[in-house]
């Protein structure tokens, strides 16, 4: 990648980091675990990269690595959202 492309990506990264810092200033302790779990599911976004590798046209070592990555990432995403929802359901009963 060209240096100016890298710089643009670093811009995006830096700004997103600051948004992330501001997002959760006052979280009640009850929500610590669900929040951790919910954002853990989001880090499964790497599933996008896994799809790109597992779906390559010709079968190479990248496909195998991509397939394992896809299984891992899908476990993270599906498990993460379901578990978070299970935890948050308990809040409704209150």
């Amino acid at each position: 990648m060209e240096i100016h492309e890298l710089i643009m990506l670093i811009y995006v990264f830096a700004l997103a980091v600051f948004v992330g810092f501001e997002l959760i200033t006052k979280v009640p302790p009850t929500l610590h675990t669900p929040l951790m779990s919910g954002s853990n599911a989001i880090s499964g976004i790497t599933i996008v990269g896994a799809l790109l590798s597992a779906g390559l046209e010709e079968f190479t070592i990248s496909t195998i690595l991509g397939l394992v990555a896809l299984i891992f990432a899908t476990i993270n995403v599906v498990g993460g959202y379901l578990v978070t929802d299970r935890m948050l359901k308990m809040f409704k009963k209150k």
Partner: protein
């Protein structure tokens, strides 16, 4: 089509921001989780239309197998086992990021036979952070579940060894960037990073583990973000950075609640404080909120 996918990625990024924001308040938390799941769904669907994605059999296998395992785990886990469940899922996420970076390394190398410096550096970082998260999270899971001793495990020269290992990994990473075809060296980076993950989490006592899981969660966000650099995908960078940054803040909040400093967490040096035994201490410390909610 490319423009459409960029726009969908942008929408997904915005939904992730709203999702995390809403997760921070009891009234909107469930809606926030739904928004973030919707964003994930949109991102996955639009990626299937990417011009790079040409074969679908492995994708179908991966999604079916992964969904089955993930759903089974999520439904079976008891409410008191949540922190270790998050730790386990987090390990899979970190591992996935490292694997994607490795797959991309071979893909780029096969296509062009070279690796430019920026891509090389981000591949090494992604592999390093992802692999540390992978083993670190599994050790955290083992400690909370009782597979690994919940006690503080001390070994001599703990911090010097870890710092030395990190320097070795960075040195090997530099070598890979300078000599792109040396895939065995990149494999060594993986191996040492895996070891580093174990060594960083092993010294932490079971009662302090939720904070460690939170920090590892932040790491896996960073790993995903680095993978975004490798793939030059802004949405991946944004989503990963959001998790990385908000994860650090959450870790700080949890540290404050337990009278710890983050520096101690990063260095894995909780050796002298609170060796609270196994996961039970943790359930009492972190989960009372959930337990009382039940009543």
């Amino acid at each position: 089509m490319e423009v459409v996918s960029y726009l969908v990625y942008l929408i997904a990024s915005i939904l992730f921001i709203f999702g995390i924001k809403k997760l921070g308040s009891p009234k909107t938390a469930r809606q926030g989780n739904f928004l973030s799941a919707l964003a994930m769904f949109l991102a996955v669907v639009i990626t299937l239309f990417d011009q790079r994605v040409l074969t679908f059999e492995y994708i179908i296998i991966g999604i079916v197998v992964g969904s089955a395992i993930g759903a089974f785990m999520a439904i079976k886990v008891p409410m008191t086992g949540m922190p270790q469940m998050v730790g386990l899922l987090n390990g899979f996420g970190g591992g996935a990021s490292a694997l994607v970076a490795f797959a991309e390394y071979y893909h780029i190398l096969n296509k062009t036979n070279t690796l430019d410096i920026s891509t090389g550096v981000t591949i090494v970082l992604s592999v390093l952070i992802g692999a540390v998260t992978f083993t670190g999270s599994f050790i955290a899971f083992g400690k909370l579940q009782g597979f690994v001793t919940g006690k503080v495990v001390k070994y001599p020269l703990q911090n010097p060894i870890n710092i030395l290992l990190l320097l070795i990994v960075l040195g090997l990473g530099y070598y890979v960037v300078a000599n792109p075809t040396s895939d065995l060296i990149l494999l060594a980076v993986v191996g040492i990073s895996l070891l580093l993950g174990v060594l960083l989490v092993l010294p932490i006592g079971g009662a302090d583990m939720p904070v460690a899981v939170s920090l590892l969660n932040s790491y896996s966000g960073l790993a995903a973000s680095m993978t975004g650099f490798v793939l030059q995908n802004n949405m991946l960078i944004i989503a990963g950075a959001l998790v990385g940054a908000s994860g650090i803040i959450l870790t700080l909040i949890m540290c404050r609640g337990m009278n710890r400093s983050l520096m101690n967490v990063v260095l894995g040096g909780w050796a002298d404080a609170g060796s609270g035994g196994t996961g039970e201490g943790l359930v009492l410390k972190v989960m009372p909120n959930l337990l009382t909610l039940k009543n």
